[in-house]
């Protein structure tokens, strides 16, 4: 069995949008998107002691190699980084196209995604990639297992849980409630340096520059603004009398 895990390198700490390019400022320190650690963990759990291969795939700047190395240190076998200046600023349409092309080369039985990228809060990419790969997709997986070429997933929705089965090959996005990701061991960190690592350009994956980056995107950021203020918000510190102050406030608003 072969499993791919899509992981993203995201800015660490407080982020900002660059007013010039209107893109997220990615110049500072970055780290493996922590929701993707759950996906890597799940791939390693599915592999267990078996002979499955786990390949981690990312689209991002050269620095994204750090996040791939972290996934290798956790135990993934191989890494693929799609990195090209022409790919910067890719939106969902372009990103899904590029990742799907990179994943087609790998031809894995399972493609795993994390629950969302902490910088984009999209939680959408997997469904777009699955559509391009023409594979079944299941998201919000809180439990996952594979037997006889069939995927069994417990999906959490607003209404409860669905138990879903799908034939392989398939695409799954895991919830962060699915597991506790392991920390890389020292041995893992040392070993990661020797694991196979491919860096691919757009040409390598067979995508024309016009299909990538801003050129290949179908959405745009037009401007930045302030969030709306909330009326006459009040904040008090409890000096032993807060309960009474809350009751007075509720009475004033005719809520009690």
């Amino acid at each position: 069995m072969k499993i791919a895990v899509c992981v993203k390198h995201v800015p660490e700490g407080s982020s900002r949008i660059d007013p010039g390019s209107k893109r997220l400022d990615r110049s500072g320190e970055g780290a493996l998107n922590h929701f993707d650690a759950n996906a890597v963990e799940e791939a390693l759990r599915l592999k267990g002691d078996g002979d499955a291969e786990v390949v981690v795939v990312s689209l991002g700047p050269a620095k994204a190699a750090d996040s791939l190395r972290k996934a290798l240190a956790m135990g993934a076998d191989r890494a693929v980084l799609v990195s090209d200046d022409a790919a910067a600023g890719s939106d969902l349409v372009a990103t899904s196209k590029l990742l799907a092309k990179a994943l087609e080369r790998e031809n894995t039985d399972i493609v795993l995604f994390g629950q969302q990228a902490s910088d984009s809060d999209g939680a959408v990419l997997w469904a777009a990639v699955a559509e391009r790969l023409q594979r079944p997709v299941v998201s919000q997986a809180s439990e996952l297992s594979v037997s006889d070429g069939t995927l069994h997933v417990k999906r959490q929705t607003e209404f409860g849980y669905d138990i879903i089965e799908a034939p392989l090959p398939a695409v799954v996005a895991v919830s962060d409630a699915i597991n506790e990701p392991r920390y890389p061991s020292l041995k893992g960190i040392m070993g990661a340096k020797k694991k196979p690592f491919d860096t691919l350009s757009l040409a390598d994956i067979g995508v024309d520059a016009a299909e990538a980056g801003e050129q290949g995107s179908k959405t745009q950021v037009l401007g930045l603004g302030e969030p709306p203020a909330r009326g006459d918000a009040r904040k008090i510190e409890d000096d032993g009398n807060a309960a009474q102050q809350i009751v007075d406030f509720l009475a004033e608003k005719r809520l009690v």
Partner: protein, 320 residues
Amino acid sequence: MSVLVFIEHHGSELQKGSLGVLTKAATLGDADVAAVLVGGGVKALASEAATFGAAKVFVAESDDLEPPLPQPRVDVIAKVAQENGYDTILLANSVLAADVAAGLSARLDAGLNWDLVDIDADFTGKRPALQDSVYVDVGWTSTPRIALFRAGSFDASATASGEPQIVDVAVELSEHSRGAKIVSQELEESSSGPSIEDADIVVAGGRGLGAPENFSLAEELARALGGAVGATRAVVDAGWYPYSAQIGQTGKVVSPKLYVALGISGAIQHKVGMQSSNVIVSINKDANAPIFEFSDLGVVGDVHEIVPKLTELIAQRKSS
């Protein structure tokens, strides 16, 4: 302009969020607005959906389409949009709708802007970003445009009268859309008392309550106020409270007259489920908790100190 709105249903109930988006679509200039319903037995819901602002309702009805899976819906909506030339497709966020929207984006090679809280008649969308600290204006560089709205962005209100035009859609599902199957479902019924979605007052507890047994603080306050009890995902995941009470992005969306948050940090995923509440009161011992940024009354203090007194004062007031 022609706008197609995906209307989601659960059982025989149309989902308020998607009806809110349809209500909004009807106000977008003189756009031609249609709705699309997909599932088993949905034809019976078509006229009701239309009253929220659709002159036309496309209905794809078959038992195969009843399970709430995204890919068959992508097949249906892509076909309706392409054959009828809709240049805009709008959806209200949900676990299902997010996957439908992204699948459509890839199928139609169409731009998707998500987490929008508003859109205007020139199709500029408003999107909060970076933990809602900036509001970004977003647009599309080609059609069709796809927009996915944050839950609770628009109120649903029935306006239109007159018989809508109902159009049956027959769809051949793609091979990959037939792969996933729902083999069973565990649907949670909420416990006794008013449901959190209908209650005028919701008292919600988070990890700050400290231990599962401390949820009694929230329950007693809710009883005194005549409200229902909600919870954050952190406490649901920890097994402190049932999932049916979870409020937020992956739980219920509520907009009561009063929302009381006890020991809740105010993570963005929780906020999207309660921010349209009329009045928000929060108690948190961390003066920098994000919840204070969207509370009408923020109280910096310990829930264990304040809540028992508050419950008592309210009970006294009600009995006097």
